[in-house]
Symmetry: C2
Subunit: 410 residues, 2 copies
């Protein structure tokens, strides 16, 4: 059902034309400017059935600081072969698809590109099967995927964020959910491991790896300072915060998320982060429905089944001034590009002053207290509340009861 | 211009009927249930030209915990008399209007009601005039407004959150932006002072009062545990967080905000807080345009003027599952009510496990380090970056330059 729903952008286009700007202002904030798609990018997109979108976010010029205009992008895609195909064929087919997305981004003169979470493989965590899927894990530093990314980065002078499943051979072959960052000369810069591991629905990732031990690194590239908030970390405002405090100007959120429960949150969380931290955000999600060989249950009373639901794509970029770009579709591969002046970060920080008014020492103290086993929450209790009285009183005053007393009609 | 825009809800109603549910699912999440408006509430609303809305948020029944069904609400309104009228007449007229809103809430069997920020007065901080406006400040404990609220709370057995401008006579008459909480028996429970003071636009509040010194109190009422995040605190995810860590089940965000810049953020921030902290939220904003006797400038290059722009209302309630109620209008007074089962808070915490996966000790340590004068941000620098090289390289690779090199068409 929900895989056939229209996207927000498609729905807005159904409004009377004279009301569409009203809607975009309320939903998407200050207008961004669509730019023409370079012919080479359009040709790739048409030949290989994906979408390309390119926008410019306006920014005030400054007198004392030169502009720092760059283009950053996120890509979304489905897997290619069935999950029953030989694993190496699955891997190779995805990599060929991603190479075309990278080439299209390059044709749009992208400086920094982020791929989706665990992009080299189907998102198999729903199965809880270690074999055969963990064969997709590889070295972050020297694996064939990083070699491929380094080659593409060097070819296009593009910084690439490549989220993969990592096997750490220096530490007994442990598994991590890791984003590799490669610089514009094709040199491995470093990696970041996912900080927050889901315990929800079919996201059984806690069966595979633990919370990351790489802190909140910011990668200082020639194009600007970037960081990676992997997937479920987007639900954690503190994770976004720390990347900002370490100096990130763009934070990517490579994700893999499905279903009715998370989709209304998708438009809220990454965008809230760009507002609260006054930085740019690029959020991407995979697309399509992945079906696995063996059935599994979902802990929700449904019968066993083989699919993980619909990955709804809808990748987008958000700006520090609260505006956002229209998103990619709910079901097609694509690349979306945001041309920005990184000077906007400090301009918006100066305007809103969130960083100056954040009272970090208060929160450092409060969180430290909260972590103590004998933490006492700050509560002011009504003299009429005890835990028993509370229940009785709520019952006496519940709408149902008051309705009976008042003779109201509802 | 923007004061004549339609609200999101009015725009959705312009969509083809068969697409409206699609849109509401993406924008508003799981459906809420409109309940019939009790006749007494409808009559008050019609006679006094305000809107009333009443919804029920569905929640699973539990076997081992009795339901904790309550109704909470937020109210929005404009001032009544011109700001040139005698101050006491202005105050009395607003209080009469608010009394009718409270009575309408009572007719809808509301258990907990929150009024808007500094509801007793025009929002005069744009003027930077201390005289005459600070005469509106009064004792939080014993002022006439708290006396009025206590009387209404007792009359209706309603917990009321009453944000006012406080004069603290125990501390040399200092001024605070304060929310008073009165329990269902009309007894003053306590107060909370605004934690984060704006430095943006015409919100010159830092000329009047300082950041609050009351921490993050949660008020344990017979209907549930509530807290108050005053206005600009909604931009600060840590402020929302601490109310949650202290046990709040409903957090109110009484606000006064205007204009094109903040409006697209209004739909994001409070809702993100309800998602990230798995609690209910009620966010209210005043409505209308307030014009002051003396002209003032806004620090944005515009000529001096006398109005503060359009307070766009749009008060709404948001649920921990990521859903929200349709909002009140952009220009009319109103009350919006959410009937909820507070058991939903723990149900959603169990489902998403955000609190279990939040890694608070990591953030306590990181924030503590950040507050040190010699803090070193965690950065990984490309070997090709120095601050000078960085600028040259960005220039060499900027879209404009690469475009020239590549002969692309944009």
């Amino acid at each position: 059902m929900t895989s056939t729903d229209l996207s927000i952008e498609e729905l807005v286009a159904l409004l009377p034309p004279e009301r569409q700007d009203n809607f975009r202002r309320l939903l998407f904030g200050a207008p961004v400017v669509p730019l023409p798609i370079p012919q080479a990018a359009a040709a790739l997109a048409e030949a290989h059935h994906f979408d390309v979108k390119l926008y410019k976010t306006p920014c005030k010029p400054e007198e004392l600081n030169p502009p720092r205009v760059i283009r950053y992008a996120v890509a979304q895609h489905s897997i290619v072969l069935p999950t029953t195909a030989p694993l190496n064929d699955q891997y190779t087919a995805i990599r060929e698809k991603v190479e075309r997305l990278i080439d299209a981004a390059a044709a749009m003169q992208v400086n920094i590109l982020c791929l989706q979470e665990a992009w080299t493989a189907p998102f198999f965590f729903c199965t809880r099967e270690k074999h055969p899927w963990l064969q997709f894990a590889e070295s972050a530093e020297t694996g064939r995927t990083t070699q491929f990314i380094c080659q593409k980065a060097r070819q296009h002078r593009m910084v690439i964020v490549s989220p993969i499943l990592e096997r750490d051979d220096r530490h007994a072959g442990t598994i991590w959910n890791t984003a590799v960052v490669v610089d514009h000369n094709g040199v491995f810069m470093g990696k970041h491991r996912k900080n927050h591991i889901p315990r929800v629905g079919d996201f059984n990732e806690s069966s595979y790896y633990l919370a990351g031990n790489t802190g909140h690194p910011v990668f200082e590239t020639v194009y600007g300072r970037i960081a990676v908030n992997l997937c479920y970390g987007r639900h954690h405002p503190q994770n976004w915060l720390l990347f900002g405090l370490n100096g990130a100007e763009i934070v990517f959120n490579p994700s893999a998320t499905v279903g009715a429960l998370s989709e209304p949150m998708w438009f809220i969380e990454a965008r809230n982060a760009s507002i609260a931290n006054s930085y740019f955000v690029g959020a991407c999600n995979r697309v399509g429905t992945e079906v696995f060989p063996n059935e599994f249950t979902s802990g929700d009373g449904r019968p066993a089944h083989k699919d993980f639901g619909h990955f709804y794509g809808s990748s987008y970029c958000a700006n520090p001034d609260g505006s956002r770009l229209p998103g990619l579709s709910r079901d097609r591969d694509g690349v979306i590009v945001n041309e920005v002046d990184l000077n906007m970060v400090n301009q918006i920080r100066d305007h809103w002053m969130f960083q100056n008014t954040a009272r970090y020492p208060l929160y450092a103290r409060s969180l430290t207290q909260y972590c103590q086993p004998d933490f006492q929450p700050q509560r002011i209790r009504s003299q009429y509340v005890s835990s028993d009285v509370s229940r009785r009183d709520v019952k006496a005053n519940s709408p149902a009861n008051r309705s009976a007393l008042d003779g109201e009609d509802c």
